[in-house]
């Protein structure tokens, strides 16, 4: 099954990957290991998951202002999320990491903002395609759907 969600592009780019979904905010510093791509915030629902190459569906960031540096370093290490989807508003610290990755390495992490209903319609394991205009295509395999 394929669905199309209309989002707003914050940092433009194309990407595809499997959705890694959470409902709680995450600080990338203290939350993402930039050398392995593992989520390391031991209080967070995604603790132990690998974000590398996946589309991180994260309502918003929080905490440390070093989050941008962690995202940038994860790009350099090749373990960054394929893209990030935020709820309703861009997180400036996450967006900044992606913009600097674009300026320094020409490798932005595409960031899209989705309205509430569309954001919460994405499930862990859905295959997503992100387009530069902010369109998100969702492919849900019945066997991988996780509700």
């Amino acid at each position: 099954m394929e669905r199309i969600l209309i989002g707003k592009s914050v940092v433009a780019g194309s990407a595809e990957g499997v959705a890694l979904v959470c409902r709680e905010p995450l600080s990338l510093w203290g939350g993402l290991n930039p050398r392995t791509g593992e989520i390391i915030d031991r209080r967070h629902e995604l603790s132990g998951e690998m974000a590398a190459g996946r589309v991180l569906v994260l309502p918003q960031g929080k905490g440390s202002s070093t989050g941008s540096a962690i995202l940038l370093e994860s790009v350099r290490s090749g373990v960054a999320p394929a893209a990030i989807i935020n709820l309703k508003a861009a997180d400036p610290i996450i967006a900044l990491g992606s913009i600097v990755a674009d300026e320094l390495y020409n490798k932005p992490v595409p960031i899209v903002v989705l309205p509430e209903e569309a954001f919460y319609s994405i499930n862990k394991g859905d295959r997503l395609t992100i387009e530069p205009d902010g369109t998100v295509k969702v492919y849900t395999e019945p066997s991988t759907k996780n509700t």
Partner: protein, 423 residues
């Protein structure tokens, strides 16, 4: 959205002020789009967080900007760095790491930044004034500058901070504008025992409790003591900005934009009112620890954010009390205090430095236990009075955390295991 740029902005963007300013302005304009701002505005001071973490990309970014030869345009202080620049060898930091950290420090100094190297710049040098427009990084410093000083900054992440320092400009939006600084959620402290509030770690517990309740909204707190100290407000803000995304809080009768509820909410009403009592307080206190009572202790870390002179004075008093009872530091426990050169230089002039040093305290300056490899890999249990350190410790350092007051930390260091007074 199109952004209205001044002639000066365009001059920088087109490279007429050099490549450093051009790259910085390019990032600034893209961030203005992210913020949805329609123009840029002046800031007159900056504090750089991007110098703190040592990463390959962060070093490449700093050396690229500095390599073009440009300088900061406004007074710019530096957050703690990845290295104790004087004493790194005694903390077992390896040479390769140190060499890169020194290169990164040089890049920021070459751009004209002031070598304050502290995450508590508001207790150090060039403290911003009320209403001053600034661009600060470091979540705890942002929170303190906005809330306690009444200066105005958004939550700037690593690397836009130096871009603001180089250009002197930021997107005109968010907490720079008075209308966006009004309180949103009212938190009333009820039944919180005043002796609990006087304890040095109570404010950290409240920050840990309130942070997740409010996310990135602006909390207004009713019930802080009017004589809350700089160190207590520092502890509160650091914990609230770690467990949540708090960049500004108001405390009625304590912080400068909150002489009354009406002023704090700018004449409006709170979206929500939440009452906090001892039950919630105890729950947050328990949540800060992952180690258990009587667990064998490996290391105590104080000074997250950086220890002030007043905190050194309190520590000396606590150590004296233990000494009077014939107690000394347990030989299996390391006792580390992290501070700035500014506070340390005052300590050197004090009459109690020998009390602290004779106890076996190791003092490290300019850095942060999260950003320099000074905690040995086999460390299992770390005790602290910092809500921020307790929050990030398990993920960043892979240790179990025992959270307690400064007195609990000193007592546990003597006993060699986690011992805390009941609340």
């Amino acid at each position: 959205m199109s952004i209205e740029l001044s002639e000066r902005d365009k001059q920088m963007l087109h490279g007429r002020d050099g490549k450093t300013a051009q790259m910085a302005m390019h990032i600034m304009v893209r961030m203005a789009e992210v913020y949805g701002a329609s123009e840029l505005m002046d800031v007159s001071q900056a504090h750089i967080d991007g110098c703190g973490l040592l990463s390959e990309a962060g070093l490449e970014f700093a050396e690229k900007l500095a390599g073009y030869g440009g300088k900061v345009r406004i007074p710019t202080t530096l957050n703690m760095g990845p290295l104790d620049l004087q004493n790194w060898k005694q903390f077992g930091v390896n040479e390769e790491f140190a060499a890169k950290a020194i290169r990164q420090a040089k890049a920021y100094m070459d751009m004209g930044c002031i070598p304050t190297w502290t995450c508590a710049p508001y207790q150090s040098y060039l403290t911003p004034r009320f209403g001053q427009q600034i661009a600060w990084g470091e979540s705890n410093a942002i929170c303190y500058a906005n809330s306690v000083l009444g200066a105005r900054t958004n939550r700037y992440g690593d690397y836009i901070d130096i871009c603001a320092a180089i250009t002197g400009r930021v997107p005109r939006c968010g907490l720079h504008l008075k209308e966006n600084r009004k309180g949103q959620i009212l938190l009333r402290l009820v039944d919180i025992d005043l002796t609990v509030m006087k304890d040095d770690c109570s404010y950290a517990v409240l920050g840990h409790l309130i942070g997740p309740m409010v996310g990135d909204k602006i909390p207004v707190i009713e019930g802080f003591s009017a004589d809350a100290t700089s160190d207590q407000l520092k502890a509160f803000g650091a914990a609230a900005a770690s467990a949540g995304a708090v960049a500004l809080f108001h405390a009625i009768g304590v912080t400068p934009e909150a002489n009354s509820l009406e002023e704090a909410f700018q004449g409006g009403h709170p979206e929500r009112v939440i009452d906090i009592g001892m039950a919630e307080f105890r729950e947050a206190l328990a949540d800060l620890s992952t180690a258990r009572e009587k667990d064998k202790l490996d290391v105590v870390v104080l000074g997250c954010p950086h220890f002030s002179y007043e905190e050194f004075r309190r520590l000396a008093q606590l150590i004296r009390e233990q000494k009077e009872n014939g107690n000394t530091l347990c030989e299996d426990v390391r006792f580390i205090v992290i501070s700035s050169q500014t506070s340390y230089s005052l300590l050197v002039r004090s009459d109690f430095m020998n009390v602290i040093m004779d106890f076996g305290t190791e003092i490290t300056l300019d850095t942060c236990l999260f950003h320099t490899p000074m905690i040995p890999a086999d460390t299992k249990v770390l005790m602290t009075n910092s809500g921020k350190c307790a929050y990030y410790g398990p993920g960043e350092l892979g240790v179990k955390i025992a959270f307690g007051s400064m007195a609990d930390c000193v007592l546990s260091a003597v006993k060699g295991c986690v011992c805390r007074k009941d609340v």
